[in-house]
């Protein structure tokens, strides 16, 4: 039965059935034909998986992100980043990374981050004679920070499934996100030196101050989100809805670039992108039910423990597994299937669940860069107008840097536990 179930899923994946339907349909076949589960249970499982207050953060963060994009906020962030780091060798690459980091503090999805910064920066880099492959690689790898620096939709999902504090996960993501951002900038610096990409502008304090003032309202957003969660005033969902309101107010009344007639399109777009994630969650929960029924999590945990009882080796193996999963499976489904499987194992090893959450999200963020399911690379390549093969080759040095960051996060708990430790007891 087990083999048949997985074979069915694999066939569905190969024939390009959408992932959500593939998981749901293979689970439905197992439930209806082999376990005689009534149809109502299927419906109840799907309904219950979406009926969750923490998950309300998903559509709200999507909505806040696209409101900021339409409201002229991403352009101001890019201007500020440009004044701050444009004077370094390979200036535009650094601007891209820094702008993505700021944007990551606003949006919770890597795809949104890549698209927002990429549409502005990739054409600019091509104009200045940067190699399109390099431009696309910088944008994609910087965009993946979108899920590491809070807010982060994958962290919301991890928090819901593993019942860890979403606020603490967000705080843990700050250290890891800064680490990834600065190491990507270092990599971009060395590549730019070698290829002879020059600084964009002279360092000017006046320009920094001026662009900071213009971007001030946009830059205020991350502080509202993170500040609200740190001080324990808001839950993640509440901060998400506040972020949405804030984006509406800034877009309409401060920058005045948001138009009423844009709203239906923004809302529909946000509703569809969040539904795609939520529908995957609904189907993955049915899938997860079958896995649990078959006691597959216990089986796999058993294999792991039989393999070795050395925590360091085990953590390395888990990372390798997660990288592999991230390459082939989309983020939300990977979380729903593997969090219930791995978290008991992790607590058995004495690893902090917050640290592991950040680690897992970082792993899957790397997976967003690697084809076939590398959503960030797909987006940045299509903006740069190059093939996936070319984009994938250019991304290799950045991928290497991120894997090093991953090992740091895995073996230096300080990076992820220091900031949450400051604000949360116990």
């Amino acid at each position: 039965m087990n083999y048949m179930f997985f074979t069915l899923l694999f066939i569905f994946f190969i024939i390009r059935m959408p992932i959500a339907f593939a998981m749901g349909a293979s689970a439905a076949v197992a439930m209806l034909f082999f376990y005689d589960v009534p149809l109502q249970v299927l419906v109840q499982l799907m309904f219950a998986s979406n009926e969750s207050f923490p998950l309300l953060a998903v559509p709200f963060f999507m909505l806040a992100g696209s409101l900021m994009e339409y409201g002229g906020i991403s352009r101001r962030i890019v201007n500020f980043a440009s004044a701050s780091v444009g004077f370094i060798h390979g200036g535009l690459a650094h601007v891209t990374v820094l702008a993505s980091m700021f944007f990551a503090g606003i949006s919770g999805a890597a795809a949104a981050d890549t698209a927002a910064v990429g549409t502005l920066m990739i054409p600019e880099m091509k104009k200045r004679g940067y190699d399109p492959g390099f431009a696309s690689a910088v944008t994609a790898s910087a965009g993946s920070i979108g899920v590491i620096i809070p807010p982060s939709i994958p962290m919301v999902i991890y928090g819901v499934i593993s019942s860890t504090s979403i606020g603490a996960l967000f705080l843990g993501g700050i250290g890891a996100g800064l680490l990834v951002g600065f190491s990507l900038m270092a990599a971009a610096y060395f590549i730019s030196r070698k290829k002879g990409y020059l600084p964009e502008s002279k360092f000017s304090m006046g320009l920094i101050v001026k662009s900071f003032k213009e971007a001030g309202w946009a830059l205020g957003m991350p502080f509202i989100i993170i500040g609200g969660i740190m001080s324990g005033i808001f839950t993640a969902t509440e901060s998400a809805v506040i972020a949405t309101d804030y984006a509406l107010i800034v877009g309409f009344f401060v920058y005045k670039e948001l138009k009423i007639r844009d709203l239906p399109e923004i809302f529909i777009k946000a509703a569809i992108t969040s539904s795609i994630v939520m529908f995957i969650i609904a189907n993955a929960s049915v899938f997860g039910w079958v896995l649990a029924f078959q006691q597959i999590p216990q089986l796999i945990a058993g294999w792991f423990i039989a393999l070795t009882d050395n925590p360091v080796v085990l953590l390395l193996i888990i990372n390798l597994l997660l990288l592999l999963i991230g390459t082939f499976i989309e983020t939300a489904s990977a979380l729903i299937i593997f969090v219930p499987l791995l978290v008991p194992l992790i607590s058995h090893l004495g690893i902090d669940p917050i640290q592991f959450g950040v680690l897992m999200v970082l792993n899957l963020a790397i997976g967003m860069l690697t084809p076939p399911m590398g959503i960030c690379t797909i987006i940045s390549c299509s903006i740069a107008g190059i093939t996936m093969e070319k984009g994938a080759r250019a991304i290799l040095p950045f991928l290497l840097v991120m894997v090093i960051d991953l090992l740091i996060v895995a073996f230096v708990p300080f990076v992820t536990t220091y900031i949450p430790g400051l604000f949360m007891q116990g």
């Binding site: 569905f12 994946f13 190969i14 024939i15 390009r16 059935m17 959408p18 992932i19 959500a20 339907f21 593939a22 749901g24 349909a25 439905a28 209806l32 009534p38 149809l39 109502q40 249970v41 299927l42 419906v43 799907m46 309904f47 979406n50 009926e51 969750s52 207050f53 998950l55 309300l56 559509p59 709200f60 909505l63 005033i233 808001f234 969902t237 509440e238 809805v241 506040i242 949405t244 309101d245 709203l263 239906p264 809302f267 529909i268 946000a270 509703a271 569809i272 969040s274 539904s275 795609i276 939520m278 529908f279 995957i280 609904a282 082939f328 989309e330 084809p371 076939p372 399911m373 959503i375």
Partner: protein, 143 residues
Amino acid sequence: MLIFILSVMVVVTSAGVFWRYGLNSALSWSEELGCYLLVWVSFLGAALATSRGSHIGIALVFDRLPLKIQFWIMVIVDMIIIFFMSSIFAGGIKILPSIHARTATTLPIPMSIPYLVMPFSAGVIIFYILVRLITGFKKRNDQ
């Protein structure tokens, strides 16, 4: 309709936060209502995403197959999705009478109202896919 529900969701949750912190008296029903609205938005949005073909799939192998085979594979995929959605539709209808007797925790509505979205969205997905299949076959015959 999707726009309307999402807007109501923003208003209701904002109101929940405002009442709790601004007026210091929590609204008991805003969280539950927010959750049901989320379910509605999610499944209706999933139906709309189906009609626009924006659900994510793995195209690695598929894209390398000849067009003729691609067409028949697409037909098979659509048939499987129709089978799956029909079971959701049937289950969703069957569950309504028993769930109608239950009332939501903080809202004065029977649980059948939030649950209605399940058969409804499944029905819409089946409809979209049938339309897609029929237009696909028509196009093929025209060529």
